[in-house]
């Protein structure tokens, strides 16, 4: 096993799903001018308008563009988790964390605001901030640090030999840390509060206080993962099939008398360049 996670999203279906859906939901909401449905505030949405649905969807879409960018980057960094857990467990844990963070945040928001006289935690964050923080705990817990490096900051333009040096020690995870911090600060106090609760949810999940990490698996998803060819064993079968087909066509080419099998018309006549390459070639050549 190599130390670095391979770059790209090959065989990271859940990471890809998360990244694409984060961008797609935000984009379509903004084209349709429906971004506001992801805002969740006790006052006035819950107290006056009784729009409880906002509690269930506020984590699904980001209302501001910086968050979209940060969240997409973080999903990409978290692909380590998918590698460790496997796609099926990863999506199950994700769904579980989503449910727990949503319940915690919505419940706290409802309780605090309806029981206490002053408005604490009036607005919840938009976007999957809490979910990201829950996953951040898992990331920190299960991803080993690979390397670290020092940044030496020396005062310039001085001739003295005993220069004052600041030493700044960073490791390979500093990018993730920095992104998480920006994401937390990006929405002000509500972001920090919700992030903290999300992070606690992550810890509780991991320690078993919130049950389900080991046993809960999403139904029906496994079949979907297999049918789209992300499962390893399935890939092997596909590869074999390819190989056999190659042999078949070779044999057919050998003695021209033999008619080709029926559905081989497409297989044989496939142009050398796939469609995508053809499009690019239109502009390149």
């Amino acid at each position: 096993m190599s130390m670095e996670t391979p770059s790209g999203l090959f065989r990271f279906p859940i990471t890809k799903l998360c990244m694409v859906s984060t961008g797609a939901v935000a984009l379509s909401a903004s084209v349709a001018n429906y971004k506001y449905i992801f805002l969740a505030r006790y006052e006035p949405f819950i107290s006056d308008y009784k729009q409880y649905y906002r509690y269930f969807i506020f984590q699904l879409g980001c209302a501001n563009e910086t968050d979209v960018a940060l969240v997409i980057l973080l999903w990409y960094q978290f692909r380590n988790l998918e590698r460790i857990m496997g796609s099926y467990k990863y999506i199950s844990v994700l769904s579980l964390a989503l449910v727990y963070t949503t319940l915690c945040l919505a419940g706290l928001n409802l309780l605090l605001n309806s029981l206490l006289p002053w408005k604490m935690l009036n607005s919840l964050c938009t976007g999957p901030l809490a979910l990201i923080l829950a996953m951040f705990h898992f990331y920190k817990e299960y991803t080993p640090q690979i390397y670290e490096f020092d940044i030496l900051l020396t005062q310039p333009w001085t001739r003295r030999s005993n220069k004052k040096q600041h030493k700044w020690q960073l490791n390979d995870q500093f990018l993730v840390n920095a992104l998480v911090i920006i994401l937390l600060l990006n929405q002000g106090f509500s972001g920090i509060g919700c992030g903290f609760i999300g992070w606690l949810c992550g810890i509780f999940l991991d320690r078993g206080l919130f049950p389900g990490v080991d046993r809960w698996r999403l139904p029906f998803i496994e079949r979907l993962l297999i049918s789209t060819g992300f499962n390893d064993s399935n890939d092997a079968i596909l590869d074999d099939a390819d190989r056999y087909r190659d042999i078949d066509t070779d044999a057919a080419g050998g003695n021209g008398n033999e008619p080709l099998s029926l559905d081989d018309e497409n297989a044989n006549d496939e142009p050398a360049r796939p469609l995508g390459v053809q499009f690019l070639d239109t502009f390149r050549r």
Partner: protein
């Protein structure tokens, strides 16, 4: 480029010309400066007189308001020069002795327009009425009332000579020297259509070029200043009138008073008196608060200092070319809402947050009744039931339509990709009609351009419009044009070949011209794509310009153009039918039989049925919507018959395509007219074979796999056991294994040896 002294001077001169264009107030000469000074003086004096005016005093020396209707009844030749000797300037009452309006019109306004309100209960009117209202209007009369003379100050006239510095003094009457304006200054139709575009004027700029605008109105619960754009024309749009007016909206009573402003009518100062055209006790209070509104507007906008040459010219044009109008409207009340609910609706429309405002039930803004009167042209027009949705609600509905349109584009892209996957060899691509896809491509391309232009016009819908434009552009200029390039390339060797020859698929006639066709150079994809993209953008641009300009044509011409264009652009399957007949595919039954026998022939139908049906539906849906749904967002008229005919026409095209699929694509051509096509599988003569360097056992080397091809030779009986289907002979006389050449032909329709074009399978 080398920069020497001359170039530098040239650049500096260009820059000087570029930057020395008149900025700010637009003054570019001494004459214009004086003109503008005179204009400012005029407005300032009139404003000072307006300040001295009160509820009981008449207008004095204010442009356009110097005469009242009674004056011209008494003396038709009266001159509008202040002061008139017999005129009473110190009193005011609501009749034709003091107003520009005749008594009939005044009483009509009092009784039927503004007097129709419910006196007992208090009505509630929407505070924000930004919208575009549509309805019908009727001419009451155009010759009953005498025309009030309204002079234009002579300083408005453009200079007659270059040396002119000081504009002439005095004023002139338009009817005196320019009688030819009679036609524009009259409304001749009995019934017409009107559209009223209402926008609120809440904020004003207070100096040139300043980006920020300030609120000025301190009585928003009582009065609102509006800008109205009134367009009315007869049904056939032969006679169009378009007015821009300022207006005051009485929020408490739902009354709107609009008056045009020009060089001959300074209506801004007339609002306080004319708004009081009703029998109410609070007249004096209303007068004062309206005067306050006008003052606030005057001061906040810095009216005199921000006058520009543009204003001057516009007012001059309006004075010369248009009649002045006074318009009275009464709004339909929204009594089903409380003021709090109205506030919530307004906030939700301004800043959507998902408040429970139930926007789908918001009623339209509607004028219960209205009257247009022109004092200087003596015209009276009336209308009722003019209504339209609130602007923001209209935008929301357009947005939904646009999103649906994006869905259609995406579906079209998907179908096109399926179709491209279906025809992935040059042989199958060559059966596609270039012109079918050109038509489809033209429509998509122009849609993309139109969307893009619309995006710059409608800033509220920028995002959905640009997304639509982008999707459409990708569809048109990448996917479809790419496909067109493939089709064009695969059909290139058919250029300069007659249709009959094509029907025969390269027969003897082709042979005779062999030296020419043999040397046809098939250009590579890059040069083809260059020409095609050039052609694509050119047709696209010209078609878009044509479409855009057609919107301003008279109704009849426009409709004829529209119907013909839609009809022509919807015959996109006809070229494909023609193409099918040329290429000739077998009936479905024999194709199935061939497949069962395992004979591999590339003779499937070129177009997927999924693609045909899907494309037709995607392209017809918008047309059906626009022509059958009477309250569609494009304000298009309803014409069900045309849609039915169009659908039948499309069904007819699809039916022919289907019959070609079932019966063979040439079933409607007489048998005699279809000669045999070129056959790749044919016996050779020994002599021919010798020319190709055959070995002694009558075999030839296949240039592709480098192994021997046994050939059926007519003269040699021992070769007659060889199956003709195992090898192929090209028109240029080269011999290959069937498999080898068919594989090659799915890449290129060129002979692998001599590069002469090959007839497709």
């Amino acid at each position: 480029m080398e920069i020497d002294g001359n170039t530098l001077i040239f650049i500096i001169i260009i820059l000087f010309l570029f930057f020395s264009s008149p900025g700010g107030d637009g003054v570019s000469s001494q004459y214009e400066f004086n003109q503008l000074q005179r204009l400012r003086n005029q407005w300032s004096t009139e404003y000072n007189e307006f300040q001295e005016m009160n509820y009981d005093s008449n207008f004095k020396n204010i442009t356009g308001l110097k005469l009242a209707f009674q004056d011209i009844v008494d003396d038709p030749g009266v001159n509008a020069t202040y002061p008139l000797p017999s005129k009473d300037y110190s009193h005011w009452s609501q009749d034709q002795k003091y107003l520009l309006l005749p008594n009939d019109v005044i009483s009509h306004v009092k009784d039927h327009v503004w007097g129709t309100r419910n006196r007992e209960s208090v009505d509630i009117y929407p505070p924000n009425i930004t919208s575009t209202l549509l309805g019908h209007l009727e001419l009451v009369n155009n010759n009953k009332y005498p025309r009030l003379p309204m002079p234009v100050e002579k300083f408005y006239d453009p200079p007659t000579e270059f040396s002119d510095v000081v504009p002439p003094a005095g004023d002139r009457y338009l009817d005196d020297d320019k009688p030819s304006y009679g036609e524009i200054h009259n409304v001749t139709f009995e019934k017409g259509e009107i559209s009223v575009q209402v926008t609120h004027l809440d904020k004003v700029y207070n100096r040139f070029g300043s980006g920020e605008r300030t609120y000025f109105n301190s009585q928003t619960d009582k009065w609102k200043l509006l800008n109205l754009r009134l367009d009315f024309s007869d049904k056939a749009e032969h006679e169009k009138h378009s007015l821009l007016t300022d207006a005051v909206y009485d929020v408490k009573n739902g009354r709107i008073l609009a008056m045009t402003q020009s060089a001959k009518f300074h209506s801004l100062f007339a609002f306080p008196h004319y708004m009081n055209l009703q029998e109410d006790k609070e007249n004096k209070k209303d007068f004062d608060s309206l005067k306050k509104l006008i003052n606030e507007y005057w001061n906040a906008s810095n009216f005199v200092d921000t006058l520009t040459m543009g204003n001057l010219q516009d007012w001059y044009d309006n004075a010369v070319y248009k009649c002045e109008y006074v318009a009275f409207f009464q709004l339909e009340p929204w009594n089903q809402y409380t003021p709090d609910q109205l506030k919530m609706i307004d906030e939700e429309l301004n800043w959507p947050l998902g408040r429970p405002a139930n926007l789908s039930l918001v009623p339209p803004v509607a004028f219960k009744s209205g009257l247009l009167y022109s004092p200087d042209c003596g015209l009276e027009l009336k209308f009722g039931d003019v209504e339209g949705k609130r602007y923001e609600i209209q935008m929301r509905s357009i947005r939904t339509h646009l999103l649906f349109g994006i869905g259609l584009f995406v579906a079209q892209i998907y179908l096109l990709l399926c179709q491209m996957h279906h025809t992935n060899t040059p042989s199958s691509v060559s059966k596609i009609s270039f012109y079918s896809f050109s038509m489809i491509n033209l429509v998509d391309g122009s849609l993309a351009t139109l969307y893009f232009i619309a995006a710059s016009v409608l800033p509220e819908l920028y995002l959905p419009l640009v997304t639509s434009s982008f999707t459409c552009f990708i569809l048109a200029s990448i996917f479809e044009t790419r496909y067109l390039i493939l089709v064009y390339a695969s059909q290139f060797n058919e250029r300069n070949v007659g249709i009959l020859t094509l029907l025969r698929r390269n027969n003897e006639s082709e042979r005779e011209n062999a030296p020419e066709t043999g040397n046809t150079v098939i250009p590579d994809e890059a040069s083809i794509s260059g020409t095609l993209y050039g052609r694509f953008f050119f047709t696209l641009l010209s078609f878009t310009l044509l479409t855009l300009s057609s919107t301003s044509w008279p109704r009849k011409v426009r409709m004829v153009f529209e119907y013909i264009t839609i009809f022509v652009l919807n015959s996109y399957w006809l070229p494909q039918i023609f193409r099918n007949a040329i290429k000739g595919t077998l009936p479905r039954r024999s194709r199935v039989r061939n497949e069962v026998l395992g004979v591999q022939r590339q003779n499937k139908m070129p177009l997927l049925w999924k693609f045909i049906i899907g494309t037709t539906i995607i392209r017809t849906l918008p047309v059906v919507y626009v022509f059958t749904y009477s309250s569609n967002v494009f304000r298009h008229h309803r014409d069900v018959r045309f849609v039915v005919i169009l659908c039948l026409y499309l069904l007819f095209q699809i039916a022919i395509l289907y019959s070609q699929d079932i019966l063979g694509s040439r079933w409607f051509l007489p048998k005699l007219s279809i000669p045999e096509g070129y056959s790749y599988h044919k016996p050779m003569s020994a002599q021919e074979l010798m020319e190709h360097g055959s070995s002694t056992n009558y075999t030839v080397d296949c240039a592709i796999c480098m192994s021997e091809v046994p050939v059926y030779v007519e003269d040699v009986p021992e070769t007659h056991k060889i199956d003709l289907q195992t090898y192929m002979t090209t028109p240029c006389g080269h011999i290959f294994h069937t498999n080898c050449l068919e594989n090659w032909m799915s890449y290129k329709l060129q002979c692998p040896v001599c590069r002469s074009p090959l007839p497709p399978l």
